[in-house]
């Protein structure tokens, strides 16, 4: 029996894996100590759990636990990484480089740094969503101190060439930050070989709880940051504030499970995603957004021509999907990520992001395929644009009575 709506929005957030929740709950109740309490067993027990979780987070990305700083989530990690590094290294230069398809947490932080006197280059991507390394190299300047490029894009799932970008940055002594919120458990991350200096993580995109994330801060060569949250000096001064033990324990367990299971899980998800793609590709005028090769197996972002976005979302209300990133879709403004792919020229396309995950079933995918066939057909039957195209009219030649 299918539960509706079918959840196909794993990039917005994932359910907490029940195994993760089971590990968290004792830390809300009987093991409730404050990890900073040094004077009694309640505190030590909590501290031990926090450190165990730190080891698990480090293991997933092959880092040293001492390089992991807890934060309240990837948004805070991105803020801490960018502001912290920019402010610390401001003496060396004031130029930053990032990409137009980054998450708002990076872009908005860059805007803030611009107001504080930094200069930021926002690079275009190729029409497959990937960064052109030649464009990237050309953007670097002698006063470039920091680069921020995401590993996996939240909307189109493409994987940026971080290894190559890391080599380029390291050779020039530029700090590289990578937002990996959408990457953990989906792609192998080996920080022992990747020349990445700062990396942001989130628990709730990898079957852990909301409200917890981490920032990897490289020790060799040592990367320094100006703290953004001051107080009791937690997290070696990088980030003050009482540690939320249960959430940290949840992130640790979620990342442990990801490490153990991602190989098999990704193959299963890839099979489902390919099934979905195949099922939708016999609808006329359907286009995939973003590169299909350099892409995580969880993501399928497609545009349907001559169908309006809001009515499409209404039509597929039995599917919990996104028409942009979760942070911006409430406004239904056209996705800036798709716009960066050059999709703005193509009028009257609507895109849906399908993101599959651990609990997605074949039955759910098949239901989604049937539903879309039915609804796209119905909306096109309603669409005067579709009718005109069928009659052979080129819509770009029409004089629209704009209002």
């Amino acid at each position: 029996m299918l539960k509706l709506p079918i959840y196909l929005d794993y990039s917005a957030t994932t359910p907490i894996d029940p195994r993760v929740a089971d590990k968290m709950i004792p830390y809300l109740v009987e093991k409730f100590g404050n990890p900073a309490s040094r004077s009694h067993a309640f505190g030590w027990e909590a501290e031990a759990a926090v450190e165990e979780a730190r080891v698990e987070v480090a293991k997933l990305v092959n880092a040293d636990p001492k390089e992991i700083v807890w934060t309240s989530g990837a948004t805070e990690s991105n803020n801490l990484a960018l502001k912290g590094a920019a402010q610390f290294y401001a003496g060396k230069g004031k130029h930053l480089v990032t990409v137009k398809t980054e998450h708002k947490a990076v872009l908005d932080t860059c805007r803030e740094l611009e107001r504080l006197g930094f200069e930021v280059s926002y690079l275009d991507v190729k029409d497959n969503g990937l960064l052109d390394l030649e464009v990237f190299k050309a953007a670097l300047r002698p006063d470039t101190i920091l680069v921020s490029v995401m590993l996996v894009n939240n909307e189109i799932g493409v994987i940026q060439p971080i290894a190559e970008i890391g080599e380029i940055c390291r050779a020039k002594g530029i700090v590289l930050h990578v937002d990996a919120a959408q990457a953990t458990g989906k792609v192998v991350i080996d920080l022992a070989t990747l020349k990445v200096d700062l990396m942001s993580f989130s628990a709730h995109k990898t079957y852990g709880p909301k409200g917890i994330g981490a920032l990897y801060v490289r020790r060799k060569p040592r990367i320094r940051l100006t703290a953004q949250m001051h107080g009791g000096g937690h997290e070696r001064g990088f980030r003050s504030g009482t540690l939320a033990t249960h959430q940290i324990v949840g992130m640790g367990e979620a990342f442990r499970l990801a490490r153990l299971e991602m190989g098999a899980e990704n193959e299963r998800i890839r099979m489902l995603r390919d099934r979905l793609f195949k099922g939708l590709s016999d609808i006329e005028e359907v286009y995939v957004n973003g590169d299909m090769e350099q892409r995580v197996p969880h993501n399928l972002n497609v545009s349907f021509a001559y169908v309006e976005g809001e009515s499409l979302l209404m039509a597929v209300k039995d599917l919990a999907v996104s028409s942009g990133s979760a942070c911006t879709s409430a406004s239904l403004e056209p996705s800036y990520v798709l716009r960066a792919l050059g999709r703005e020229d193509e009028l009257a396309h609507s895109s849906i992001r399908f993101t599959l995950g651990r609990f997605t079933t074949e039955e759910e995918v098949d239901y989604a395929i049937r539903l879309l066939h039915d609804k796209i057909g119905r909306l096109r039957e309603l669409s005067p644009l579709w009718e005109m195209v069928q009659e052979g009219i080129d819509l770009s030649t029409v004089q629209w009575a704009a209002h």
Partner: protein, 131 residues
């Protein structure tokens, strides 16, 4: 976005979807909006003797409220003379469908579609009379 029961009804069961043959007797077409704005409405009326609208059909590219507004209008114009049809105001449409402020433009577009269809009818009618 919370839709009213009436919007949902028209969206789920749109009335009078389709097109008339362009050369059919008494058919006039109003096409308003633009893809770039997110809505295009095509309203067709079939006007009989005495200027009475006997039938109407629509196609709409747009949100649920735009589809509902145009569907509603096809029901309202039927049986009215073209002059009476021009009396339909967007405020009546918005009120009937309980459109929220951000969706008022859908009702305006529907009113514009009526005007455009009637104008097309009059143009053809005059042309016919002249011919």
């Amino acid at each position: 976005m919370a839709y009213s029961v009436k919007v949902l009804d028209h969206y789920e069961n749109p009335r009078n979807v389709g097109s008339f043959g362009k050369e059919e007797e008494g058919v006039a077409t109003g096409m308003v909006g633009a893809p770039a704005c997110g809505d295009v409405m095509k309203l067709q009326i079939k006007v009989g003797r005495g200027g009475v609208i006997e039938d109407a059909k629509f196609k709409t590219y747009g949100c649920g409220s735009a589809i509902a507004s145009s569907s509603l209008v096809t029901e309202w114009v039927k049986g009215k003379t073209v002059e009476q049809a021009l009396d339909i105001k967007n405020t009546q449409i918005a009120e009937e469908l309980a459109l929220p402020p951000v969706k008022i433009h859908c009702s305006i577009l529907a009113e514009d579609a009526i005007k455009a269809a009637v104008a097309d009818y009059k143009k053809k009618h005059v042309d016919q009379a002249a011919g």
